[in-house]
């Protein structure tokens, strides 16, 4: 069983349930992914698949990489990732995988790179409350306050939350409900938000965690 597929976030919309409830969904174009390399216990010590998604012009790909794609008889790809695989199915390099493999999947995990927010303060970055708005405040409205004690330890501890670069980091959203798998359009609709901008690349994985609650 292939555990994950590569895709592209298309954007968000809504889907009505029969009861008339509008469910917010993210549309992800999923595959077709091409198997570029098959890793086997014999050769690599473990089983895995290297998948490629979306074609790229060969002239924009380095020669060594071009050779790597040529081995699988595939066009060069934009998005190349290794995904876990139990080694059960008979898959050869060059084989194509589509959204179909998620047809019976109830929940998925989606990994992407979040939108870059630049240099942000502690209120936005760490959810600090900031200072009071009134009662004689000078300029303490969005400050972080104290960052530690005085003579002891007379230094700032590592990992203290401070302003800095926010976003642009890999993030996984777990246990998103699969609303629909559209085989004709190679798309999957998941409930809720997914990290990254529209047309950002994402990895959609079968949910591993046990569903909490329902």
């Amino acid at each position: 069983m292939v555990d994950a597929l590569l895709g592209k976030k298309v954007g968000m919309t809504g889907v009505y349930t029969e009861a008339g409830e509008l469910v917010p969904v993210t549309v992800i174009r999923l595959g077709p992914c091409v198997v570029i390399q098959v890793k086997t216990p014999k050769k690599d010590g473990y089983s895995a698949l290297q998948l490629g998604f979306e074609d790229r012009k060969p002239k924009n790909v380095s020669k060594p990489l071009r050779g790597h794609y040529a081995k699988a008889n595939a066009a060069p790809k934009r998005f190349l990732r290794e995904v876990s695989w139990d080694g059960e199915d008979d898959l050869q390099p060059g084989a194509a995988l589509t959204a179909e493999i998620f047809a019976d999947q109830k929940r998925v995990d989606v990994t992407g790179v979040t939108k870059g927010r630049g240099f942000q303060g502690v209120v936005k970055r760490h959810g600090f409350a900031g200072g009071p708005k009134t009662h004689g405040q000078g300029n303490h409205h969005r400050t972080g306050g104290s960052i530690g004690q005085s003579a002891a330890p007379s230094r700032v501890f590592k990992g203290v939350k401070m302003p800095g670069r926010m976003g642009g980091a890999r993030q996984t959203i777990r246990n998103l409900d699969v609303v629909r798998v559209d085989k004709e359009r190679d798309a999957i609709l998941v409930r809720g938000q997914v990290p990254g901008p529209n047309s950002g690349y994402v990895v959609v994985r079968r949910a591993t965690a046990k569903a909490s609650g329902s």
């Binding site: 298309v10 954007g11 919309t13 809504g14 889907v15 009505y16 349930t17 008339g20 549309v27 174009r29």
Partner: protein
């Protein structure tokens, strides 16, 4: 890529939506499921606003129940809305009839549209 979203939205949109405007008196048939039972609830009142576009378009209906104003907002394309029937066309000069909220009794009356008059104007 954006076409994919438009397609998904268009698929869900109702093909035929009765023509109605703000100021009209309408009967909205809503499917309500109580446990296993399904029944149709009819909400009658004046349309005081239409908002949004496409799949997410909604309209608000206002009526007076036991002396108290009641407003409900319905998504036009929701599958729970089985029918919208226009019982009376009103003639209004606003896109949103929020002023009706401050009025009581006879002042809440919306003038009926003169039939034929609007056609000749065009």
């Amino acid at each position: 890529m954006a076409k994919l979203i438009t397609d998904i939205e268009n698929e869900q949109m109702k093909q035929e939506i009765p023509q109605f405007n703000v100021g009209d008196t309408v009967q909205v048939h809503v499917n309500i499921s109580e446990r296993e039972r399904q029944r149709v609830h009819v909400f009658t009142g004046i349309v005081i606003s239409r908002k949004g576009s496409g799949l997410r378009e909604t309209f608000t209906v206002r009526r007076i129940v036991a002396g108290e104003g009641v407003e409900r907002t319905f998504p036009i394309h929701s599958p729970a809305i089985t029918a919208i029937k226009v019982t009376r066309s009103g003639s209004v000069r606003r896109a949103k009839l929020y002023y009706l909220r401050e009025r009581v009794g006879k002042a809440t009356h919306v003038k009926a549209k003169q039939s034929g008059k609007t056609k000749s104007a065009k």
